[in-house]
Every structure is written in C-alpha cells, then in structure tokens.
C-alpha cells in the first residue's frame, strides 16, 4: 500500500518537476538569446564606435624634434651649431619623497627659493612619469657632483640634449641672430604641429629669416600606450627630417676685421659683393653674446642689455637710421647730371656759405673760408657743401626724392633679414602728410648735403653704393648663399637675385660721378686721400660727417668741448676697384667725429683684408 502510494506519488512528482524543468530550460534559452542580442548590438551594430574608442585608448602620437640645420660662413666656418648640454631632470613617479629630494638637491646645486616654487608647480601640473627639468646647462663640475651623490636621489638623473650654440660668440649676434624658447607670439605664427617637440625657434637674424629651412620637419612616433600612458611599443614612426644647413656670404675674417676696426665705437659696417648682392660682412656695435638667449636669458641679464644706453640688442646695420651726410652727395650729383641741371664742367662758386635769393640766412660750407670755383669732381672730392646747396636748390626736393628712390633710399633693400627699417628720404608730400607743414626751400638745401630729414640705414647706404658701383644694376643684398638639404653633400645655391637696371639717360654720367669718387681717395685734395696709398687698384669713396648736434649761426663746431655723444657721426662709403667693382663697403661710426679721419681708415682696413693688400703705416 505504502509502496503503491510512493510509486504513484513518485510518477506524479516527476511530471511536476519535469514540467518546471522544461519551462526553466526554455526561459534560460530566452535569457541567452537576450545575451546574444546584446552582444550583436555591441560587436556588430556599434562596432565602429567601440573600435575607435579602443584605438583612442591605446594609440598615442609622440613627436620627434628634428635637428636644426647648421650655419656656416663662406669659408665653411661654423657660425651656429648644436651642442649637447646636460640638465638635471626629475621623474616624479620614481621619487619616494619629492619634498625631501628637492631640499637636498637645492643644497647641492644652490637653487633659489624661486626656482623651487617653479619646479613644484611644474611637478603638480605634469603627469607623474614626465620629466621635470630642475636645472639646465649643468657644468662638468655639477655633473660630477651629481654623479657622486646619485645614489641618494632615485628618480633624478642627468639628461643630455642638443641646444644651439654660437661658437663665434658676439661676432655674428646681429646677423646670424639667435634662437630662443618658443613663446605665445611664436605659436601664432608657426605650424604648431611641426614644432611639437621643438624647444627652440629663430628669434632674430638669419635664424628667424630661414627658420623654415633650418628647423626641418618634425617626425612622429605612433606608440601604443597602456592605461598609465606609458609607451608599450612603437606602432609606426616617421623619422624627423633635419633642418637644412645654411651657407652664408659672410666672411668671418672680414667680419672680425670690421668688428675690430670699430674698436669700442658704436656703429655699423656693411660690406657687399656688388656683383651678387652677397653681404660679406655686417657688423653692428655694440653686440652681445647670443648664447645667453638659447635657453632663455635671465630677466636680470636681459634688463641689463635692454636698458643699456648703448642699445647692444639694436641691430644698427639694419635699423639704425643715420643722416647720410656727404655720402649722399654722389647720388645728388648723379641726379643733377641726369636731370641735366649740371654738366661735368659746370661750376659753382663757394665763398664759404650759400644764401637763398631774398634771404639773409647763411647756409654754411664745412670749409668756412670757402672752396672757390668748384666743378663736379672738385665738389665731390672736397665735399663742397655750397656746390650741392646750389645743385639741390635748382633741382628741388621732389626731383631729388624721386631720383634717390631709384637707389632705394626711403625703401627697404629687401635683404634676407627681418626687421629692416625703411629709413626716410623726404619729399614735399611726405612732409605734408606726416607733419602737416609746407616744405621750406632751406630744407632742400640741407637735404642736398644729406642732412635734415634724411635718415638712412647702413644697409641702405651700402646697397645704394653697390648700385652706383654696378652703374645702375640694383641687386637686393643677400646674407644666405646656399643651403645643403639633409643627406646631400652638394650645396644648393639660392637662385640668383633678380636685378633691375636703373633707367639712366647717359651712361657717361656714372663714370663722371665715379671718377669724382676716385678723386676723393686718390686726388691731391681728396677728403680721404690718406687711405688711397699703396694700392694696386683704385678705390672710389666718399666721406660723410653727419651732424647730430645743431650748431647755431656763427657758432663754431668744437669737437674738444662737446661730449662724445654729441660728436658728429662719421661715415664712409667705398667700392673697389673703381672700374670693375668687386667690393662695396659702408661704415657708420656713431659720434666718431669726421668721416675722413674716423670712418675711412676703418673702410681701408676692411678693403685690405678683402683684397689682401697691406697698409704701409
């Protein structure tokens, strides 16, 4: 009975449980279908989305900074190179106690409280595995000190990297310029992507002008990173392309001689090869050490340079605006010939002064006793002011202005350097526009001797002299001669400068003016005759003395009693050989006194260096 009941019961219970089992199995099947559906949504429908998220997770692009191109002078002497420097760097994640480590390092390396605040700020801002620079440009001694103490500082190390170095120091500070840290302003002007990883950018001079060429092309390294951002492996990479090396027209020997010849005077020297426009020397004094700027100059040193009354950071050869004084006279003379106002033979009488018709004011000649009868050659050779007062007065300022414009006075020479000043070549229109005043005839007179409103930069004066030397061929001056693309051994010359020939009526006029300039150096009464000795060729030159300090009527200029900064500027322009010019030089010596005594000898030294001729002292 009980057995029977149990069996029946068992069968019945089996049915109950099995029904529920089937139901459960079906239900579980449904749940698993839901799972599969969910997976299809994630892996098929939204695959693209998650795939790109996954890529973003793991792939990081880091940049490889290119090596900056080197700069050489025309002889292959290095003017700018890249040298390894050592800096002390800290990796926060590897330092057990940052505070303590910094304290100890500060004691070792004499770091200031200010530095420490900076460093702590940087540590806070960066990811913990990125290095923070504690001290730059370690000396060998500091490297040694650290090496001895290294065991005390885990996570701190000396790291080497390449930085710009100018082996010639101050000699090319203005021309080659310098690189510095990239600042906000730079970022707006450059292709930011190409500068990822770069620390430096050209700030002035050739370094700035040829930045694109010198910098090169940034490389990329596509890396896989893990969740902490550490590089696990390289996926692919594009090597950086080093910047091109630059070869300049500049000649270090000439540059050195020019700089030395300037002694401790302020001023500028520009020497040009007139046939190519190549700038052979370009000196601006005083100068400074560009190496200070490479890693960022200290604010104290910068303030000293910036606030110095001698303005060492100011590139006088490009931006210094000087009255050209008598060096303008050959151009005025040429204008006179061209306009037919004078001939080679026509004469003016110089009693020592000049007066405008109906006026009492005496425009004085530098020679108070007067030159007597002056023709073109004598007028230029002896730099007679009266001759040019008369000529200028006859031509009028506007004709002078438009003629001088041909020589790029008042315009940029388009030299391959940044920041060139336009100078100023006055005209009636200019005066009305800028000063809202009428032009006075007297202003024409003093413009005719390169004084008054005239302001020219040394590069402008040198370039105009080159145009004169080339009998009217205008070639823009160039500092850079050639480049050498990465991996090539041959130089790639920059395309020759396009030049234009000045529209002149009579080519004889050139020779008349140039003959007069030869007379300046080689004539018996030439104002620079003392530099014309012992030469196998003829120099054509012109002295200039530019007034800085206004001298009242009937007052006499006395160099002895005037403070040096009120002394006249001394100028000299020259080219040689006169008949087949190969070399042009312009010298401006601030407060040097007379162009004849001060500037001409400097020019001669430079000419001697260029032609290998020696002065017999």
């Amino acid at each position: 009975m009980s057995t029977h009941f149990a069996l029946k019961n068992h069968f019945h219970e089996g049915r109950i449980v099995n029904d529920r089992l089937i139901f459960s199995a079906l239900f579980a099947g449904l749940l698993f279908i839901a799972l599969i559906a969910r997976l299809i949504v994630l892996q098929v429908v939204e695959f693209e989305h998650f795939d790109s998220l996954s890529e973003q997770n793991r792939v990081d692009i880091s940049s490889i900074a290119p090596q900056r191109g080197l700069i050489y002078d025309r002889n292959g002497v290095l003017l700018a190179e890249n040298i390894p420097t050592f800096s002390l760097e800290l990796t926060p994640e590897n330092v057990p106690d940052i505070e303590d480590t910094l304290q100890q390092l500060a004691a070792l390396f004499a770091m200031t409280e200010e530095d420490m605040v900076d460093i702590k700020e940087q540590i806070k801002q960066q990811r913990r595995f990125r290095q923070v620079i504690l001290k730059e440009r370690l000396t060998e001694k500091e490297v040694a000190i650290f090496s001895v103490n290294r065991h005390r500082f885990s996570g701190v190390d000396v790291v080497g990297r390449l930085i710009r170095h100018y082996p010639q120091g101050a000699l090319f500070a203005h021309t080659v310029g310098y690189v510095g840290r990239i600042n906000e302003q730079d970022l707006q002007e450059i292709d930011v992507n190409n500068y990822k990883g770069s620390m430096q950018i050209g700030k002035t001079g050739i370094e700035k002008q040829y930045e694109e060429l010198l910098h090169g092309q940034v490389g990329y390294q596509q890396v896989e990173t893990n969740v902490q951002g550490r590089i696990v492996r390289e996926l692919n990479s594009m090597p950086s392309v080093s910047g091109q090396d630059l070869f300049l027209h500049l000649d270090i020997n000439l540059q050195r001689v020019a700089a030395e010849a300037m002694a401790d005077f302020n001023g500028a020297v520009v020497a040009i090869d007139p046939k190519t426009g190549g700038v052979l020397a370009m000196v601006s004094k005083p100068d400074f050490d560009p190496n200070e700027f490479v890693l960022g100059i200290s604010s104290k040193n910068y303030a000293a340079l910036r606030d110095s009354p001698d303005m060492p950071l100011f590139n006088r050869s490009l931006r210094g605006r000087y009255p050209p004084g008598s060096t303008l006279k050959p151009f005025i003379a040429l204008a006179g010939l061209e306009y037919g106002v004078i001939t080679e033979q026509s004469k003016s009488f110089c009693p020592g002064w000049y007066t405008l018709p109906g006026q009492d004011h005496r425009y004085r000649c530098w020679k108070s006793h007067g030159h007597g009868h002056m023709d073109l050659k004598a007028g230029i050779a002896q730099s007679c002011d009266v001759y040019f007062y008369d000529l200028a007065n006859t031509m009028g300022i506007d004709r002078i202005h438009s003629f001088l414009d041909l020589f790029r006075f008042g315009r940029r020479t388009e030299i391959d350097l940044p920041g060139e000043s336009k100078g100023l070549s006055p005209s009636k229109e200019w005066k009305r526009a800028s000063r809202n005043k009428a032009w006075y005839p007297g202003e024409t007179l003093i413009s005719g001797i390169g004084q008054g409103f005239n302001q020219m930069t040394p590069i402008q004066i040198a370039h105009a002299t080159a145009v004169l030397a080339m009998r009217g061929i205008d070639i823009s001056p160039r500092v850079a001669r050639a480049s050498r693309p990465t991996g090539q051994s041959e130089l790639q010359l920059f395309p020759a400068q396009t030049y234009q020939t000045l529209p002149m009526e009579n080519s004889r006029n050139w020779e008349a003016v140039i003959d007069s300039m030869v007379e300046v150096v080689h004539g018996a009464r030439g104002s620079a005759r003392h530099i014309g000795k012992d030469l196998p060729f003829k120099i054509a030159g012109k002295t200039g003395t530019a007034q800085v300090f206004g001298i009242k009527q009937d007052e006499k200029y006395d160099a002895e009693t005037l403070a040096r900064k009120l002394h006249d500027h001394a100028l000299f322009i020259a080219f040689a050989p006169a008949e087949n010019p190969q070399f042009v030089v312009a010298v401006v010596v601030e407060h040097g006194g007379g162009g004849s005594t001060m500037a001409a000898p400097i020019a001669r030294k430079i000419i001697d260096q260029y032609f290998g001729t020696a002065v017999n002292e």
Partner: protein, 376 residues
C-alpha cells in the same frame, strides 16, 4: 539463438563511456566541463599577460576541484540527502564566524583563515542551501504545502542575509536563487510565484534603503555608466569598449589591446568575458555560450531522468543556477545588469568558486550514475 541469449548476459563491449560510468563519471558532462576549462585556460593565459605561474596555480585548483568532483560523484545521493542538515548547520555557524572573525578583502569580510587554507563559507552554502531545500521539500509529497514553503523560504533567507551582510550581494543573490529554483521546480502554484514577484518589486525601495553605499553606487553607475567615467563607471565603459571593439571575429588571441594594455580592470576575474569578446569576437563568445548551454542542458537532462524528487530538484537547481551564474556575469560585463561581482564560471581565475562548481557537477554525476543501484 543461444548465442544471442548468451551475448545478452555477457558484459557489454568495453567502451570509454562505460569505464567512466563504473567510477560514477558521466562522460558527456565531463567532456563539456573539460572543454570549458580548456577554453578558460587559453583565455586566462591571454588575460594574465601570458603568466605561466598563474596558469599553473589555476591548474592546481582544477586538480583540487576534480578531486572533489570525483569524491562527490562516488557518494550516493541518499547520503547527501542525509547530510543536508549537517552541512547547512555547519555552514551557518561558519557564516556567523566569518562575520565575527573573518578576514577582510576589498572591503568585505568573506574569508575564514583556517591556517593552511582560506575558506569562504558562502561557497559551502551555494551547495548546502539547494541541498537542504531539496531534501526538505522531497520529504513530503510535491507540490509543498504553504507551511513547508515558508520553512523553505526561511532556510534560503537566513544564510542569504548573513552573506549579504559580509557584504557580498552577488553571492547572496546567487544562493537565494539556487534555493528559489528548488522551490520553483517543486511545483508551487503560479499564483504564489506571481505574488512573490509582485511583493519583491514592492520591496525594491526597502532593499535600496538597506543597501551599502557602494552597492547603491553600483546600481546608479549601472543605470548611467557615463556619469562617472573615471570612477565607478570606468569598469563598465572599458568593458563595453573591449567587447564592442572585438567585432565579429575578434582581434585574435593575445592581441586584445584593451586587455593587454590594462585598460580593462579585473580582466582575469570578473571581467574575463570582455577579454574573450575582444580577442575572439561574436563568433567566439557565441560558441562559448552554446557550450555553457550544452553543459547545463546535460544537467537538466540528468535532472529529468533522476529517480527521486530530491535528486530531480537538486540536479535541476545545480544546472539552472550554473546558467544563472553565466547570465549574471555576462549581463554585468555587457552592461545589461549592474556590477555585482560574480565570476564567469569555469573560466575566471579564482579558487573557491571553481571547487564549488565542480562539486556541483560531481553531485550531478552521482545522481546520474547511481540510478540503477537505487532502491525502487
């Protein structure tokens, strides 16, 4: 003719299946388990960044687990039924002990240090609860009376609450469901079931109130993982990226970037399913899920062929709970369910759950292989 009679009496021809049967091992179930474990080792090798040491530790655990499986398979189901009260009682005492003396791990007290061996009493309860409920309900005719139903619920709820207090909500829910599955299989009326579901839904706000902060956070994060992408939502976001970027065919074994670059957290344990998805794609995970269904299906078949109600209920509960494990883990990793910390059975790295799972399969084998020897 004589021959045929003679033949019938002769032992049947030797086969591997029958040889296993003699030592109470079910060949089909064993095959499924071995396939899952093998797949698990292959995946774990990749998830653990090719650490052989980890694989060896996992193999040692598997060895232990198989020993337990073999022992249990050779114990008669009736002996298990008899020991249900004892096991449950010991389990309860240990759970209380854990709350008092237990070791903390990840902010939860789950471990009991027995000197040589750290033990999670909740793992014992995973088997003891369905064992006792099945044993208790099978004592009387099915379906159970409402009185026996209430006692069953008490048997389920007491350890669940103790485990939830450790706190280990995931395990508590799994244990509760293993017991509730027994109750469901015992044939209680649908009215009671729906009533219960309605009551549970109504109790949700209460549950919210008693939950720990981190549990509430998990629920909130589950509802909107993007709200906290670097905090608690990070797991699920990275997991979904890993799964989604696997696509149909996956990135290939050892080539999952989410996993190997450590973007994916807990990748050897709770989130190992994301590694599989990333490296083997939809095809790989579909095959894996089918394998799980086949193993559980064999268990359900064993349950349906069982000769006592106790065995039927127990085998059904073990098989279905196994599927619940898989569903909860995959649902969690794919963002369908909140993160409750349930490992992927047979594949996730970790000791005790592997032993418990194979112990369950040992019970299934015992039930299946002791059939003929059971008294009618």
């Amino acid at each position: 003719m004589n021959n045929s009679l003679y033949d019938r009496r002769q032992p049947q021809r030797w086969s591997f299946t029958r040889a296993l049967r003699i030592i109470h091992i079910d060949a089909l179930l064993l095959l499924g388990i071995l396939m899952l474990l093998a797949a698990g080792l292959v995946i774990l090798y990749s998830a653990a960044d090719q650490s052989t040491a980890l694989i060896i530790r996992q193999l040692i655990r598997m060895g232990t687990a198989f020993t337990v499986l073999f022992v249990l398979a050779n114990i008669h189901p009736d002996r298990m039924r008899d020991s249900a009260y004892w096991l449950y009682g010991v389990g309860l005492i240990l759970l209380v002990a854990v709350l008092v003396f237990g070791h903390e791990g990840k902010g939860a007290q789950r471990w009991l240090d027995l000197g040589f061996f750290r033990f999670q009493p909740s793992e014992l309860m995973k088997l003891a609860v369905p064992l006792l409920v099945a044993s208790y309900l099978a004592e009387r005719p099915l379906p159970p009376t409402s009185g026996r139903l209430l006692v069953s619920l008490a048997i389920i709820i007491v350890p669940s609450i103790l485990i939830a207090k450790q706190p280990d909500l995931g395990t508590a829910l799994l244990i509760a469901s293993s017991g509730l599955i027994v109750v469901f299989l015992s044939g209680i009326s649908w009215r009671i079931i729906f009533g219960f579901i309605g009551l549970s839904t109504a109790a949700l706000p209460v549950l919210w109130y008693v939950m720990h902060d981190y549990q509430r956070q998990r629920v909130l994060t589950f509802l909107n993982p993007e709200s906290d992408p670097l905090g608690s939502g990070y797991h699920i976001i990275q997991s979904k990226i890993a799964i989604g970027s696997g696509g149909v065919f996956g990135r290939g074994w050892l080539d999952g970037t989410q996993s190997h670059l450590a973007f994916l957290p807990e990748r050897t344990t709770d989130f190992i399913f994301a590694v599989i998805s990333e490296e083997f794609g939809l095809v790989g995970v579909a095959i894996l899920l089918i394998l799980y269904l086949l193993v559980a299906g064999r268990g359900i078949y064993i349950a349906s062929k069982a000769q006592t109600s106790f065995a039927r209920l127990l085998a059904g509960s073990i098989s279905l709970t196994f599927l619940v494990y898989v569903f909860v883990n995959v649902g969690m990793v794919t963002g369908l369910l909140p993160v409750v910390g349930v490992p992927l059975p047979m594949i996730s790295y970790g000791g005790t759950s592997m032993v418990t799972l194979l112990a369950g399969f040992g019970i299934l084998m015992s039930i299946h292989t002791h059939r003929r020897m059971m008294s009618p």
